[in-house]
Symmetry: C4
Subunit: 208 residues, 4 copies
């Protein structure tokens, strides 16, 4: 089974999800106060759009790189990918809910941010599941040697841990948790996940 | 005619349909009671999202496998595929309607679930129509021998029969019918439809 | 310039447009009368969904066949294709507006149906513009001999003329015009447009 | 890394964004005055649809041509492309907001048009960033000689400057700014951006 349609379907879902983010940006229009005021009151929605667009965009780039190393697509990999997409599709809902309750820090605002960070964590875990698939079953052309599996996982758990931290922070401050999720996005513009066996091997030998 | 655009269009439709499922998840937002309560009252919508995502995801996997065996795309096959997509596109509508009337078991809740299960049955029948196309007219590279056609159909009718059962159950209990549809999804994560002639032949010889 | 992305973009737009058709199907939900009654009152929306799905599905099939014969994509062809897509994207809007005013035959119902038939005509004309492109400028591998251009155009004008007829009929009866548009769809399941030079040549020699 | 998925994802996002433009066209339906009057009152929405469809359609054509010259896709290029798509996705929101406040020339109408022209400028700047990527780092097969970089940039800054002009004009007249943005679209149907090194070189030698 070739990986072409896996990529096509995933690209389709991510493209639709990233575009639906903009549906959260509507303003009420004429007769609901000045437009400047309406836009100002919606600043959390615009910030949320930026952060979620960046988050989905980066996960798309990483998905792109990760899947490229795959040579054999089987049923387990397809379902790991579906689990990943299940959370990608929830991102617009999570973003809308979280930013609706901002800028306050009410109990609901914090709960909404826990939900949003949880969706990000689910997406990250789904990506980790795809990565885990690449470690086993001869699905990639250059498999990672078993002694490097834990080093590679640590790097991934590291990435997901930031979203765990965002959930914990969201219990206290919604906006601080959102800022952290945004920083993850900015960080990954400059850095990148070890996407293929070769990269991890290189990275591993770099740190020795 | 190559099968590339058949796959691209089908992937596009399924990707959009699966992403539109999340549009059913909106909560009313600030000023409509606590968020926890709003999310709690929407639990059928979240359950429906999970089940429909799984259902469409699995049918995508099976469509993927089935179409891969096709070497000649003609007009009949294209329209069988359109009939299949007609029901795929109805899934978000069916899910929204069915879960709106849950968790009660009112007459409307049961009718809505009959509708939803009927849409799933239509999708399954459309998939069966594509499969039927692969049995005739030299559309696949390794055609199934005629004496195995009925065995293959039985396997497919078996799959669709679960949705017939869900319609019957929905007449009495909406939530039980939804649970059955969800179980179909969970079952297919582990099992799989006989997708190509070779698979059916193998499966057939296995049972002898 | 290859035709791959022309196909990918067109497939994407048609896939999204065909899926958005289902957004017109929402019922108001609990507390707005019995579901059966709500569904019954919405029967024009369901009929419209069927007809528009069929109409877009068929034009996708024909677009598929037509573009396959193209070997050179230039700017004129790209804009002819954009003009075609401009009307495809309007189909969900046209369907929603036309079926909202049914089943009555009020002045507004007839105007809405004129609008819908007009959008179908625009789509058909856009398709005709792409076809016209294939007659000139060495864009296809097997160009149609000039003496057959008018025969081929007549066949296409014939197809568009049905939509002109639908506009005229809509001035008197909205539902009759919708029925005609539906019949076009049913007709094209069994027949097909002359899509490539070879087909027209064959068809032409058949009628001699 | 191949450019296939960059194209697929970009095509997906642009296809969805261009299709979502039609969501702005809904009329209120029966019981809200005559349909003719409703359509008439919505004429700015229809004009906005036309102009934004043309604008996104043209940028898709130019993106198509530009990316075709790229042979090596790296992380910087992927993020330039994401920045471009960030603004493409905002186009339906910008169009809806700008045309909601038309045809008047209130302070809000002018602000909304500044916002819309700003989104167009952002899209144009994002496209410029992708173009800038093609000038460096051996990402294209036929790189442009350094002495022609500024000539090529001038052509691009020229294109973006029209959107800067639209922002300035929008401060005084919303409708005049919209007309200018529409003219850009009409202009590019006939002209085209220098998309590859070879084109710029040709264009450059033409003007000598």
């Amino acid at each position: 089974m070739d990986r072409g349609r896996l990529e096509a379907f995933s690209d389709g879902v991510m493209a639709v999800a990233i575009t639906l983010l903009a549906l959260n940006l509507t303003v009420a229009g004429p007769g609901h106060g000045s437009l400047l005021n309406q836009l100002y009151l919606h600043w959390p929605a615009f910030l949320g759009y930026l952060i979620s667009f960046l988050t989905v965009g980066i996960i798309w780039v990483n998905h792109h790189v990760l899947v490229m190393s795959i040579t054999r697509v089987d049923r387990i990999l397809l379902f790991a990918n579906l689990m990943f997409l299940l959370f990608v599709v929830l991102i617009p809902f999570g973003t809308a809910t979280a930013t609706d309750y901002l800028p306050g820090n009410s109990r609901d605002a914090r709960l909404a941010m826990v939900l949003y960070a949880g969706i990000c964590l689910g997406m990250s875990a789904g990506f980790g599941a795809i990565f885990e698939c690449t470690l086993h079953g001869e699905r990639v052309s250059r498999p990672l040697p078993p002694e490097q599996h834990w080093a590679a996982r640590r790097r991934f758990v590291g990435g997901s841990l930031v979203y765990v931290a965002a959930i914990v922070i969201a219990v206290f401050s919604a906006i601080a948790a959102l800022a952290l999720i945004g920083l993850v996005g900015v960080y990954y513009i400059f850095e990148r996940l070890p996407a293929s066996a070769g990269d991890v091997a290189e990275a591993d030998s770099d740190t020795k």
